[in-house]
Symmetry: C2
Subunit: 332 residues, 2 copies
């Protein structure tokens, strides 16, 4: 078998972190990987009057998105997508989801036969009554096998100590990564209200159950164990609810009375965090299934329709009708 | 059917909180409960020169163990165990576990036929190679059916808003309540090291898995769902790892270098928190199964044998041999 040739599609905070790990790991296993030059595709921009690709290739630091962390010397930055993917056999998709569609179009017909991909893109692709994970989009559009990586990580923390476990549930892993954001907002509401660890833990538990039930309802091959036992499930949820950005914005939402839009601008530099709750609400509404997910709906209503956040714990009392109209037991 | 007559065996912090809830709920349902006088057994002691029973019966506040919280007027304190249980049909056991044996001896022959019990006693009864839950001890010794209550709660917080869900897994619920203490110590180590939310979440996830596996190995009728889905499992674990006493002591253990014994004296007024890790270690050693639970063992070794706490996350890499000698997959 030939060696794997890696192409990193993306170069933000998470993209740069994964480039460091991929570059190091390839260098350690030169029998398995084409390790001398690993291309990282950069959406070119000016940083203090210099091109970002130049800065990365001279200093080996992505000053803008992962400052202070040295990338290995075999990783090089390029703004040329075709060059990045030339002869590549192992694609790492790690770009903001809104750029995926256009990037896929540019990649069509330029992928080596037998190549495979892995996506680290956050979120899910929701359009009213359709929901899709990005791994499936990539598989369908590019005709390559694509897996997904998600789990407890914060890019700046993780580059020194990063472990990956493989499991068979691409849908479950992807939905964990998307839906935990809604639960983290609810957890942040509890922090904002200062209602204590019990209320927050109840929210997290019920949120994890709604995440699992949603995924099993709309992705028939997903597995409950992914949510309850895997790092991508319960551990990532805990991390997000203890320290994540959505949690932080939601806490500030309660304490300041400002809108999520303003807070995201102030606190996250414009990164959009609350959109998952809105997307999932629209999807559930189109499916006539809103009442099956009272916690998800409570988060949406508080963020966008002025619902009082002190009523969120009421969602824990709600009976959740299942899609087959059976009544499930109350969840707390 | 006659009305239920409640007897509360115990009057500490948790006992007083449950007395408040039981008194209120009985008063609301006088058709189901003998609601006019609900006895709470108090181990008599002097508080500022007065008897604790007198204080409680005059002020309706347990000044020593639940100060500032008003008990309902139908709850009365007595130091007479026989009077407490006379004609009682519904026993609430909520005393420190070291007093259970003697109390059971005093109760023998004094229990009305058909009575039932529920235990809120923390921990499990471990003696080298035997492990027993207190509900089973009560059933066997007193010949009454006994269930168990455990879950995310902190007595002072919960009296205004307390919900209970019944499930069929008495062993699972009881072991959740005991084993979470070991995991909370490990989580506290992470806080002491200031290693961030990812490391802590990984500890919590792996701890929950060890809790489940331990219980399924030694209590054949326990259910995995209790650990992953119920308040007694994942939610109580989260609460304990975010704010609990074991976590707090363990954090101080790392930061101060003091022994657990000293810290428990200083921080918990002598309440013993680390004993579960020691009990479970002895039990697993007697069963020759220590290596099946690397996180539990790491906590024990750090607390009692001088193991470096920075090595605790290594337990997450360990292969956990199962009892049947199959090798399970690595858990992170």
């Amino acid at each position: 078998m030939g060696k794997e040739k890696i192409a990193i599609i993306g170069s933000g905070n998470w993209g740069s972190a994964i480039a460091k790990i991929a570059g190091q790991n390839a260098a350690r296993q030169p029998d398995l990987f084409e390790a001398s030059r690993i291309p990282m595709w950069v959406f070119e921009e000016d940083v203090n009057g210099r091109k970002l690709t130049e800065i990365i290739n001279e200093t080996h630091v992505n000053e803008k998105y992962l400052p202070g962390i040295k990338l290995p010397e075999n990783v090089y930055a390029t703004s040329d997508l075709e060059e990045t993917v030339k002869n590549a056999t192992a694609f790492i998709f790690v770009l903001p989801h809104q750029f995926l569609g256009k990037t896929i179009e540019q990649l069509k017909g330029k992928i080596a036969p037998g190549a495979k991909g892995i996506t680290l893109i956050k979120g899910v692709d929701v359009s009213e009554s359709h929901i899709n994970i990005f791994a499936d989009t990539i598989e369908q559009e590019l005709g390559i096998s694509c897996s997904a990586l998600s789990g407890a990580n914060i890019a700046d923390e993780e580059t020194e100590n990063f472990r990956v476990q493989t499991i068979g549930d691409v849908h479950g892993v992807s939905l964990c990564g998307a839906l935990k954001n809604i639960v983290a907002v609810a957890a942040g509401f509890m922090d904002g209200l200062e209602w204590g660890d019990n209320a927050k833990a109840a929210i997290m538990r019920n949120g994890l159950i709604e995440m699992k039930e949603f995924t099993l309802e709309f992705f028939k091959d997903a597995k409950a164990e992914t949510f309850f036992q895997e790092s991508a499930g319960v551990a990532d949820l805990m991390t997000s609810c203890m320290g994540g950005r959505n949690r932080k914005c939601a806490e500030a939402f309660v304490k300041t009375g400002k809108s999520f839009k303003d807070l995201e601008q102030e606190m996250l530099g414009g990164q959009i965090s609350i959109v998952t709750a809105q997307d999932i609400h629209k999807f559930l509404k189109a499916k006539n299934r809103v009442e099956g997910y009272p916690l998800f709906e409570a988060v949406y209503q508080c963020a966008f329709e002025g619902r009082d956040v002190t009523t969120v714990t009421k969602s824990l009392n709600a009976k959740r009708p299942t899609n087959s109209d059976k009544t499930t037991q109350s969840s707390l």
